[in-house]
Amino acid sequence: MGVEGIGARVVRKEDKRFITGKGRYVDDIKLLGMTHAHFIRSPHAHAKVKGIDSSAALKMPGVVAVLTGQQLVDDKVGNLICGWAITSKDGSPMKMGAWPAMAPETVRFVGQAVAVVIADSKNLARDAAEAVVVDYEELPAVADVHAAIKAGAPQLHPEAPGNQVYDWVIGDEGATDAAFAKAANVVKLDVTNNRLAPNAMEPRAAIADYDAAEEHFTLYTTSQNPHVARLVLSAFYNIAPEHKLRVIAPDVGGGFGSKIFIYPEEMVALWASKKVGRPVKWTGDRTEAFLTDAHGRDHVTHAEMAFDANNKITGFKVKTYANFGAYMSLFSSSVPTYLYATLLSGQYNIPAIHAEVIGVYTNTTPVDAYRGAGRPEASYLIERLMETAARQLKVDPAALRRANFITQFPHQTPVIMAYDTGDFNASLDAAMKAIDYAGFAARKAQAKSQGKLRGIGVSCYIEACGIAPSKAVGSLGAGVGLWESAEVRVNPVGTIEILTGSHSHGQGHETTFCQLVADRLGVPISQVSIVHGDTDKVQFGMGTYGSRSAAVGLTAILKAMEKVESKAKKIAAHALEASEADIVIENGEFKVTGTDKAIAFPMVALAAYTAHNLPDGMEPGLKESAFYDPTNFTFPAGTYICELEVDPGTGKTSFVNFVAADDFGRLINPMIVEGQVHGGLVQGIGQALLEHAIYDVNGQPVTASFMDYAMPRADDVPSFNLSHTTTLCPGNPLGIKGCGEAGAIGASAAVINAITDAIGKNNLEMPATPDRVWRTINAA
């Protein structure tokens, strides 16, 4: 692997600038003549906008303009789109209401923008916003899915009667019913998957700069996928054609999915900068983040699992209500369908599955992909059910899982996904060993003698990552392909620039992607730089989410590298007067195999650019690009086991141990992988114990600040015990599966299974706050 190659724990190159405060985030950028936007947002969950009086604000110092939703409509700026078409079981397309970037007539969630003030400074814009008078007529609101689908509930969109977006099904209902008819045992469970606010450290921000002479826009924005943003902004929102719109996503401080989507604020900033003839900057504050960044999860599910007399699963039935909030965000429709129900087989052999998913509008912040996106909801459901089944069937939970594991690969599940490889026994074994599963009973007894309730919880997760084969997702309704592109530019002196469509917002691509080059060419990573996040520099690319950057993005780089190496070998062979087939690359040199004849890589690069002595007919230069479209998803999987204690007096949970045994295929940089797992686990634990975005019955958010929304802190989580059991992914040449979401997918079930084990009661919802746990312990 070499000291900097694949598998090496290389310290992150990008951290020098982040740790020394030299990162360049959108809010750090200041343009000449820049104005500042402040949005006027609805305080009501549902209301008619009767009028907006901005006359007083317009007279205030430094105010450039006050723009409203009606002006957006007049200027024909398009409504926000949802990019994945889902078809209901009756064959009808999903039913969507229009989502204008600022509401001209009706607001449907607290925080929805109705107007924007553009002023010389942020403070002046805010001052003027207080002088804008918006006349609202309040309408009845509904925040809860069950309430929203009841007859007589307040209706959000005329296009979606009954607030229902779709009623979608997957799997074989007849076969599943037949399995239940013959079942020896049926295990039932109702679970809620709590709504979360993503809370990236850097709030969203945008700067739009319109150049009237060139009729060209530049947008600096906090995006995980700047090319997709450009495509959507030009193709659907009528902002500008793609070649007249440059989107730059510079350093981005975390995304977790919430920065995939194109939000109203970017659209308005672009439109406004043309209207006022000056650059327009908007930086959200934390309250705006809570109110307007797409939320995650929010499912209510009833599930039943059928077992035969040997405790083998024979069927699985699921009915889920997914709360979409007030509008359909960019990829929201796919999250509770193709990213959720297709994973319902878990790690298990399940002959028949049937799932129904009902998407529902409510007067709440729109919900979309958040770290794991659909897969945490699936994994939580299955793993809570397996634990419930073990308790009901009176068998050891690990043994019940083992008895039902898929052991033959490839494995076609009844819900589309075809698992390529894995070794579920290996990760279960590793985790059980790491936590000393066998010794648990003694530890539980010991804890009991000290007045503590000790529990252990297992979670065996699987996810579909490396998103995604374009043809497959296209056939399921996706509006885009999910390949990735790369370009490898070798400079005349042999330094290398890698241009990638992946986007790093915490993942460490500037290090891991260089490691591939170091591995193949023996070039030090200091000689390689990664260029990303600028549509003017990088060929079209699809961005970063769904644990896809290594499995898809890095494979595209590999493909381009192979082309570079092939051309470089030809040049080296020509210079060394040898046959191309005899050239090997070793430690940064191109060698004639079996001889001491060699030429250093920088000399090959120089030869390519001086072009004094190239093989006949060869073009000068050394620069290649590639597009890579995966042939299948990848399937990271593993086992998490959590051991904890509950204080019966207060219901408070304290961790004793948390082990994670993951199979991510090949690891490029184990240190960075560990960081990804730690972060994911903390988010999963946060969901299990602390986090919950709550609305009251009128749709008012009650957790719109960190004083109420409990984000996990260092002392809320244990020190993690990580290990890896590896099966290489056969679908890509590097054997990579991806590691970005696993922790968030697998952790929450382990925690809840452990708490319910500790307290001896099975029904406990997330977040398992001390109050809730105490109440459950003391319930009759």
């Binding site: 403070n123 805010r126 001052d127 207080e130 309250t287 007096g649 207060t650 219901g651 408070k652 602390l690 919950h692 709550i694 009650v702 957790t703 960190f706 004083m707 109420d708 929304y709 409990a710 984000m711 706050t769 001390p770 109050d771 105490w774 109440r775």
Partner: protein
């Protein structure tokens, strides 16, 4: 934040006179409450008078039977003060539980008591120990000082200069932190005075702010032990109820935290 004029006072008298001269002044101590409120535009003082650099307002002293913490002393200084740890360890411990390190480095006892947040920690110690709040005008007994949520006996422009705690025979504090804010979801301070009296104050739990709990005081007076509290009944009525803790949960916490505070007091 709205525009405001910042003044750095160098003495209590100067601070008081600056206050008298401006239309809507606010004193600034650690700024851990005032500044966030101003940033959210929920307060718009014309003038902000900083007390934080006034030398006579900073320090922890013990003399005879009294521990005195001057008003602008940050929580961190109290938590790490050898004087406080020796005189009333429970007070130093309480200070070490406030918020997070950043809050403890800036937030002060004077600001905390002037603000009288119903979930703040210091009010519990102040009331349970029967402390005296010293101001630039008078001395106020703790029993007369707390007037419900965010409200105190302080008059407009009155400056807290110090808090004097009688050193008790025994004292203990147990806090169940709010999962998000880390204020007290319920905190209980128990004290046994040198004359044998018992005072118990609870913060975070009541709809009317910090309060004494007579039933627990009586039980502990009869028998200073955690077990003595087992049979005490704490009604949920009048207690706060929110997404992090229902009123009956808080009623339970009052008992459990009181027991742990007694155990800690020894």
């Amino acid at each position: 934040m709205y525009q405001t004029t910042y003044h750095r006072a160098s003495s209590v008298d100067e601070a008081a006179s600056l206050f008298g001269k401006s239309s809507e002044a606010k004193f600034l101590s650690g700024g851990q409450t005032l500044l966030p409120v101003m940033k959210q535009r929920l307060a718009s003082p014309s003038d902000v008078i900083d007390l934080g650099k006034i030398k006579e307002l900073i320090g922890v002293e013990a003399a005879g039977d009294t521990l005195t913490i001057k008003a602008a002393t940050p929580h961190y200084d109290v938590a790490t003060s050898d004087v406080a740890k020796k005189a009333i360890p429970a007070v130093a411990y309480l200070a070490s539980l406030i918020g997070d390190p950043a809050v403890r480095y800036r937030g002060t006892i004077g600001g905390s008591l002037a603000n009288n947040d119903p979930a703040a920690d210091y009010p519990a110690a102040t009331l349970a120990l029967g402390a005296t709040i010293k101001t630039n005008k008078r001395s106020i007994a703790a029993d007369d000082y707390f007037k419900g949520l965010f409200s105190t006996a302080l008059e407009d422009g009155e400056i807290i200069t110090a808090v004097s705690f009688p050193i008790p025979a025994k004292a203990g504090y147990a806090k169940f932190p709010h999962p998000a804010s880390r204020f007290a979801l319920t905190g209980v301070f128990v004290a046994q005075t040198k004359s044998g009296d018992v005072r118990v104050a609870v913060t975070g739990a009541s709809q009317s702010g910090v309060m004494r709990v007579g039933a627990i005081e009586a039980a502990l007076k009869a028998n200073w032990s955690p077990l003595a509290i087992d049979s005490v009944n704490i009604p949920a009525s009048g207690l706060l109820s929110d997404i992090h803790g229902s009123s009956d949960y808080r009623a339970n916490l009052i008992k459990v935290m009181a027991q742990r505070a007694v155990a800690a007091a020894g």
